[in-house]
């Protein structure tokens, strides 16, 4: 194990924890934060995180919650039922769940869920990801979404993040999603922060279970504003014939780390992870994936893109594991970074670990600036170089969004991307 960093800054969190949670926090202290020599954290340093004093958020409300919410709904769809969490805590008065269709329940994490979660976390103990352990120890709440077999539902899950005063605020939440056999869920998830410069560490752990022949389209809109650290860990568990399509749009946040793992445990399952990051200033976005093909005849796709201006940085680390039994696997992985400035940087680490022989696995990775040839072609038709660049950057982004099934939602996202690009364009 590589040397880890001290977690003393998280000790204040322990003041309010007892029982299993205190035990888990102890386990976290023992694990420590991943240090600079940890392979999985090579490009994303947590040193500054280790140097602060973290406290849990109080129960205070949030200024301008309704405006933030309206903004999120404008984008995700105003007609969708909406479940709102403030610093992880369910907000019934801000939520709108009356329109949920029959066969779908959504609400706060129940005490029974919490007990089960903690028991499972204790059992797994020190093998876990330290940030996962921290989340299990300190989560302040979360949401559960269940879709019964055969039912169909669409839902907007909103995370409002707010700092609690002068101290650095540690916000932890959990989400649990279960999609029953043959059921379908369209889940849109927004992350929003209020303060102009929020000293916040926001952590979210999600577990998503897909039963046979179920579907989940999951779009995460990360507009965490000035939140300093946002990390998400999501785990997808899939049975036969199920399909998961996940898209993460990273528009904000100073340092964002998204880890997604999937276990395709029955044949005929398909999992798709894609991501689009628009970065400027010194923003940093780090995406890790872990695609576990455990059985034959599953397929997976990964499409990760980032546009980088100024001194921003993106990291993509994608792991595909094809176990010995997983014949006829078809796994595709692609990452592209578009650098708009000489000081921006992108790192890609594709990792293919294949133990079966009859499989198709491909990976491609490119890091580069706009192609002169394309620019000249556009200019030679009368389009000036600023507009030509915008057009090419938008096109680069549009390729990630084109898989979205709801065309008006896709158009809203394209507009948002276009506006954001106009701001960050170098």
């Amino acid at each position: 194990m590589s040397p880890s960093m001290k977690t003393d800054g998280f000790k204040p969190l322990g003041e309010t924890l007892s029982g299993e949670r205190a035990q888990l926090l102890q386990a976290f202290h023992k694990q420590g934060l991943p240090g600079p020599r940890s392979e999985n954290w090579k490009y994303t340093r947590l040193k500054e995180l280790a140097e602060r004093e973290w406290r849990a958020a109080g129960k205070a409300g949030i200024d301008g919650a309704t405006e933030l919410l309206a903004q999120a709904e404008e984008l995700a769809g105003k007609d969708l039922p909406c479940l709102v969490l403030l610093n992880g805590r369910f907000q019934p008065e801000l939520s709108r769940l009356g329109t949920l269709p029959a066969g779908c329940e959504a609400g706060a994490l129940e005490p029974a869920d919490e007990t089960a979660l903690l028991a499972a976390a204790i059992q797994r103990g020190g093998e876990r990801h330290p940030l996962d352990t921290l989340n299990a120890a300190a989560f302040q709440g979360g949401a559960v979404i269940r879709v019964q077999p055969g039912a169909q539902a669409a839902l907007h899950l909103v995370h409002l993040l707010s700092e609690s005063g002068e101290d650095a605020t540690c916000l932890q939440s959990r989400v649990r999603v279960e999609v029953g056999e043959g059921a379908k869920l369209e889940l849109r998830e927004s992350f929003l922060a209020d303060a102009p410069s929020a000293e916040i560490l926001a952590g979210q752990v999600a577990e998503i279970r897909l039963a046979r022949d179920s579907r989940c389209e999951h779009i995460r809109l990360q507009r965490a504003g000035s939140v300093e650290w946002l990390y998400t860990l999501q785990h997808i568990d899939q049975l036969s014939g199920s399909r998961y399509d996940g898209l993460t749009l990273g528009l904000d946040g100073q340092l964002v780390r998204n880890e997604s793992s999937a276990c395709l445990r029955e044949s005929g399952a398909h999992c798709d992870f894609s991501s689009l990051g628009l970065l400027d200033d010194v923003r940093h976005m780090d995406s890790h994936t872990w695609m576990d093909h455990a059985v034959p005849s599953c397929t997976s796709g990964q499409n990760f893109r980032s546009v980088l201006a100024d001194r921003s940085r993106s990291v993509y680390s994608g792991h595909i594991l094809v176990r010995q039994d997983a014949q006829l696997t078809d796994a595709v992985q692609d990452s592209k970074a578009l650098l708009l400035s000489a000081e921006a940087r992108a790192n890609a680490r594709p990792q293919l670990e294949i133990y079966a022989d009859d499989v198709k696995c491909t990976h491609g990775s490119t890091v580069g600036s706009l192609e002169e040839e394309q620019l000249f072609y556009l200019r030679s038709r009368g389009i000036d170089s600023v507009r030509a660049r915008q057009l090419l950057v938008r096109a680069f982004c549009a390729e990630v969004l084109e898989s979205l099934s709801d065309s008006s939602f896709r158009e809203r996202l394209e507009t948002l991307v276009g506006e954001r690009m106009e701001n960050i364009h170098g």
Binding site: F376, L378, R381, I383, L392
Partner: protein, 249 residues
């Protein structure tokens, strides 16, 4: 229309164009022929403003303006069009959207009203029909996944929509089968007009059976070594480029 005087151009310090004089008057079609490496494509690209080429000597006057002073997009707005030898694939941008943006840039520059999406669609559909092309060309992403022939036809469609004053076709015939060649040639012929000129760069005489030029120029080692009427193309076809090169020596 365009007057090229003593033009010299180089790339990475290597001189490719070594003193070209050429005048094309309104309504004329000039063919530039020559063996590989004679500088034909370089000339086309220098006129369109490709930055990799450096003009080291000479001048080009286009409709009374100093062409070499203008940015590539301004040349296009002033009425110059280059049909690329290798049209560039741009995934994620629809052919129609791109073409509307380009046309409106040109219209704005010329003091005309911009066309909205509906009016433009009507215009571009009419052009597609007139050119006997397939309408699905419009919905597809710009040149992306197009066959060689489709790319060349698309260049002709762009030309028909943008209605340039001077169109330069850079080996538009290369790699085309006879049907595609006809569509391309018909497209050019339909646009021939008193106030519009063409410079057709080609390696083979074949295209000139369909687009009959007013003048033919033979380029060799960066210079025009012979000029004549449309018969010159036939003579070249018969005797080969070796003939003019030998004569030159």
């Amino acid at each position: 229309m365009i007057k090229i005087s003593d033009l010299h151009a180089s790339i990475e310090g290597r001189e490719i164009i070594r003193g070209i004089d050429l005048e094309v008057r309104p309504g004329e079609v000039h063919a530039i022929m020559g063996p590989n490496g004679s500088g034909k494509s370089t000339l086309a690209n220098v006129l369109a403003g490709r930055e990799a080429y450096e003009v080291t000597q000479g001048s080009v006057e286009f409709l009374g303006k100093d062409l070499l002073e203008l940015e590539p997009e301004v040349r296009a707005r002033e009425g110059l069009f280059l049909a690329f030898q290798y049209p560039v694939e741009i995934p994620g941008v629809s052919n129609t959207y791109f073409l509307r943006v380009a046309l409106n840039e040109i219209r704005r520059h010329q003091g005309l009203d911009e066309l909205d999406a509906l009016d433009f669609l009507e215009l571009v559909r009419t052009k597609v029909r007139e050119l006997h092309m397939r309408e699905d060309l419009l919905e597809r992403q710009l040149n992306t996944g197009f066959s060689g022939g489709e790319k060349k036809k698309n260049e002709i469609l762009h030309m028909a929509v943008l209605e340039p004053k001077l169109a330069i076709l850079d080996e538009t015939d290369s790699g085309l089968d006879i049907d595609a060649l006809r569509i391309v040639a018909d497209g050019v012929n339909a646009l021939r007009a008193e106030n519009r000129s063409f410079i057709v760069v080609t390696h083979y005489q074949r295209l000139l059976e369909y687009i009959v030029p007013d003048r033919v120029h033979v380029l060799s080692e960066g210079r025009i070594v012979r000029s004549g009427g449309s018969d010159l193309a036939l003579e070249l076809e018969e005797k080969g480029y070796g003939w003019v090169q030998e004569e030159q020596a």
